[in-house]
Symmetry: D2
Subunit: 409 residues, 4 copies
């Protein structure tokens, strides 16, 4: 009876088992339930309409893969105690609990300078308090302070269970089937040498394919032009709303959204957590819909653009845009809209994105050769251009309104 | 360039092509874009966490299958003009455009006595007006007033493209793989006899399997106990909110939700449409979250139950519950909560559901035998018990709070 | 190192683990390796070109599902010792080891009156001898002589692992995706009551769907007209060859095939086994190809028909064919071919098939209701017509040559 | 009626339509039907037990993809006449018709110096004769003599429909899901510039993934150690049989196999074709089984090794094996077996394989950039190391018997 409740249907892996009481209770906790209301891929559904999957599903999936990895490692005679197994599964389950609305899109915009990792840690400490310190080991693993370092690498590393799940899950729900990775095969090839998570020699082709699939997902999904245009629009809406709030304008919104819009400085952690734990995608969408009728024409126009899917036109290139070109686009818009230079920047602007976030600080994936020696994947693979792969790629974009934008009223 | 925009990735069918300009423009219209924010299966994700797919995807999918059916019928020498093809695809695309938040869950609760079909028709007429009467034929097909009756049957019938898509799509996203139907095989078997959509003889086993898969989805997904418990909770929240609104209490919410909560009588169609066109799932969720702090303890408690997933315990049976049993449960709750009889009904209540909605009024599926004769599937299939299958099944349920409900604050 | 060899890739389930040394050694044994050369579905690939999967794969798959079922049952607190687990896995692994060429098609034609089950048992006893009596318990389970009767039911019953695997596997390889059953869900619902394998109440819809999928596979695949026509042709070839052999004609063929063609009476078990263990699909095909040039025109014509896929035309009906109609077809053929009545029967003949083989003698599937009572599925399911489902269905067929048969030389 | 026969179930693509009468008649021809009896991957099923798919399925699949490519190219306003479409589909359908038993494994061993491509061309010319010269255009396309060169590139090039099908199909049937390529997406990206088949810019990541998947399939499947060991064993058997035949020894086998074993010189094309058209996998297996009892101990031992799956141990490395090491292994074997040096070479031998066969002579894949310029994929992709990718990889292997080889009798 109790057991039945602990099996979850997942279209990606079939059935996911929730192995311990503590894991079950954490999943049932409102902090974690909130993740049901945070889309994994923000506004990506504007391009891939099925991409409505949530952080909740991803966290369960990553926990499932971690369980699979533990089984494999144990079958290769590596010792992992039940407590350690639970700890690493808790760590991966909660690794994204600090994500705000629309996942990455609004990071740093709402909760000031705090990253989602820092917020996750705040949540973990609070849960640890509520659960009588039973998350101590999980937190140690999450912070890489636990003696068995390979446990940390399952949670956070170049080939961690987080990445394995999100690549596979995001491929599944976007319908970009080429991004599908053989997570089960990679996991079967995991091993431990000198407290390091490594990959058995015959797994090298799977790792190559994983890296290529990840790259494909980057360009086809995560950094898709239209997705960036939509997320930039959302950012501009929040910036404008914050500015208006700072000027004392009244803005519709649930209290916790207003808390962050009107927040004067850095709040205390406990207060921040209380407010943040209420906030999710719905608040942003509902508020933006109401703001479509706000007297501020900038805010109302931006919101209409978002809700009616009249996104910016966006240009992408490898170098910064020429000042003249930006000026030209700005002037065009200004003469059409009558906005001054400062306000026009909500509609015509340039910025850059880079995907180094996903590489720096990580260590190289190690391959365990048939002779028992460890080599970096960059050495083991003769086919991938690792200097290029690991280089920070920076793309500059320029956004401006489409000419044919007509607002529906 | 233009072409590229017209292919949509869909995890269920791969690629969906949008075949005409008019269909494309309708999809881009804010009325249709709203469907991105209406979950196909309401609160089903409380049980099947991946069931976040939307009416938007379903409508596109049904349009795709309709295009496939048209190809098959044309290959069997049945005449369908390009205008008719576009009309039937428009009709299926828009057949659900009148769905309110959480699809079926809140039907009749928000927009008074109007069903989603009636609302869909209102939307179609308004779109017809906006698109210079180019939806005339589509509306005729939708209302079964167009001479070629089989076109209507593609949109609405025992084996229509709506059902084929939603069964397959709902199976896909819930992960209940057994509900997957062979939509492509059924479509390959479609034919027309005397202006009726029929199924070729060798398709009989596929139709049997379709009916069994549908039944499985009913009991495993659509009428899942926990899903009903969640939807009843949502209904109670709306009822309480409407009651409080009627008493003049102030309730947080976007204007269009307040419009429906405070609406005194039946509004004019145009005004109703304007307000309804703004309403979606987000508004309900955000408002319910705010109402968790409302001074009315009934509303706040119900909302907390929903947001923290502390659902009612629910019992299901084939007969009405005995008065004594209901009384017993009510008294238990009253003595624990201190609520009076009337208020206790928000927490302890009985009602029934029946799945005849999905059968009555529909005509039997016809099988075209190898000798060219039409027979009802009920006759052609010796294996399915059709009297039972077509009988209205009524299930009575009794909801009451779980004992162990502790609110998180 | 040793472990790696014991994981097998299977497109249906992903990875199959071979859990014990003994199972591994049995799989490596030439008796079992022979199953690589016996197609699971005989000549079905004439209709479904991908249906080249073998008894070898099926046996591994059934073993895998048995392992899954054991895990589920153990998780429900039922005691299964490691020895019992190995025994039941051996029993299912070897349950089809006595299949001859083209699986069912040639049963009783080659090895006299012995069924494949009897031959399987002969093989098991011989393997038991070779493996120092380590198969005793497996044989007891296979023969339903082991105390825990539910183990036998996993191997042979209405819902055994044999059926679960072959339905899913045959659907997969034929491409008849509608036949796919939710084997994992059914297995998750298995339970044991009073030493009987039963299905938990909520598995009832899955069982219904399993039965419907099986029926679909029967009519769409197993009893497909063209498949029957092909198998009948193969039978006629063997009959003719046996007749010619009986007349002392020299026939090409490997020694073991000649052994069975020229065998005067019932051979001793050990000799039969030795010969039978060499025989597989390849021998039949290669010999039939050579026989295309045999001086006997009946044999050569039949073989050409098979190899050039010029199958009989086949009519199917529920009643025996009228004598006059058979006579008419026979006379037509006789006048065209000049064959006498007896010889004409190789080309014009009637017979019947019935699918009761798959039901009779089996016990009803039991459902464990929520109240802990066992009921037959026939009672528990109101939707399936069980009297019809369990009735022996007999179909009569009449085969005769296609008019347009022109032989390629 | 006629139409129904022309749809084929394929587990990989669902349904395959046979679009013209001529294509249908070619498929029905015994030359093509023979491909049902030639496994696509030879002995690979020794490692991946489901890899029993045939050249027949592959040819149909490649024809299907070609039809898809034609649709895409036509939708991009490129002119392809119905005759050209049929011609290119015939060319791809028949491109592998000259494959002998076990596909590549026995190439050059049976039919002397003729490659399978040359044999395919012989078959095509003979079919052209039989079909009243209706294959002229198809042959021109196949030989790259037809003016529209891009048609040839669909049949044979770095990104032809042959490769797209076999990679996807081989992945499917081996269960090596990581090798699955997005053939539909690549096809959607095809275009024609200056009579060259090219890939639209946004297809670059799909091409990268295709190349990586191909590489993965090479190392994981096509060049799998055990597969090589099995194929080498088969080669040794044929070599020994040919040698014995040359010495006048009598060898069991169907006439056409004996024809090739005893053939004194290069036969005339027509005679060769007649014999070759009868030969398939079955002949080799059945004969090898009979040869297990041949008085020649070398032949009988090799055959037993094959049939009982007692494959050679195989070592693989990048450099030639040291003479001393080979000598050491040879002497070990000689002292155990008593064979002389020459005969020992059937059991202890070294050779090399290289995968340049699949690259040399092909032209680079061209990418059509957004600015309308063509660039080589090697330039367009910064991530793949093309010099390495296109370099001929040579692997040296050394085979010798496993110590624990015990023959079953």
């Amino acid at each position: 009876m109790v057991n039945k409740k602990k099996i979850v249907n997942d279209p990606v892996y079939g059935f996911i088992n929730i192995p311990t009481e503590l894991l079950y209770d954490l999943i049932e906790h409102p902090y974690f339930q909130r993740l049901r209301r945070i889309k994994q891929l923000g506004l990506t559904h504007f391009v891939y309409p099925a991409a409505h999957h949530t952080r909740f599903q991803h966290a369960l999936g990553a926990m499932y893969l971690t369980g699979e990895a533990i089984s494999v490692l144990r079958s290769k005679e590596h010792d992992i105690t039940p407590d350690e197994a639970e700890a690493v599964m808790i760590a991966i389950l909660l690794h994204d609990i600090g994500h705000g609305p629309f996942s990455h899109a609004l990071e740093h915009t709402i909760a000031g300078q705090l990253s989602h990792e820092e917020l996750s840690l705040l949540f973990m400490h609070e849960l640890n308090r509520q659960f009588d310190n039973r998350l101590e080991m999980a937190i140690a693993v999450f912070e890489n302070k636990y003696p068995k370092r390979f446990l940390y690498q399952l949670v956070s590393g170049q080939l961690d269970m987080d990445r394995l799940d999100y690549l596979r899950r995001d491929s599944f729900f976007t319908g970009v089937t080429e991004g599908v990775i053989g997570s089960d095969r990679i996991i079967k090839m995991l091993n431990i040498v000198d407290d390091n998570l490594v990959v058995d020699a015959k797994g090298i082709y799977s790792v190559e394919k994983f890296l290529i699939a990840r790259r494909l997902m980057y360009w086809q999904v995560y950094l898709h032009k239209t997705v960036i245009a939509a997320e930039q629009l959302l950012l501009k809406i929040l910036h404008r709303a914050k500015k208006l709030a700072g000027q004392g304008e009244d803005l519709f919104g649930p209290p916790w959204l207003r808390y962050f819009l009107y927040a004067p400085g850095e709040p205390a952690a406990s207060e921040l957590l209380e407010q943040f734990a209420r906030l999710d995608d719905n608040d942003i969408v509902t508020s933006a819909k109401v703001w479509m009728d706000h007297p501020d024409p900038i805010l109302s126009t931006l919101c209409k653009q978002l809700l009616h899917r009249e996104l910016f036109r966006i240009e992408l290139q490898n170098e910064p845009f020429a000042e003249e070109y930006i000026m030209e686009k700005t002037m065009e818009f200004r003469s059409a809209s009558g906005l001054d230079e400062q306000d026009a920047r909500y509609f015509v602007f340039t910025d850059h994105i880079s995907n180094n976030l996903y590489n720096t600080g990580d260590e190289e994936i190690k391959i365990l050769t048939n002779r028992g020696v460890l080599v970096d994947i960059g050495q083991a693979s003769d086919i991938l251009n690792f200097p290029v792969l690991s280089k920070t790629v920076t793309k500059y974009f320029l956004c401006y309104p489409k000419k044919n934008t007509i607002h529906w009223r």
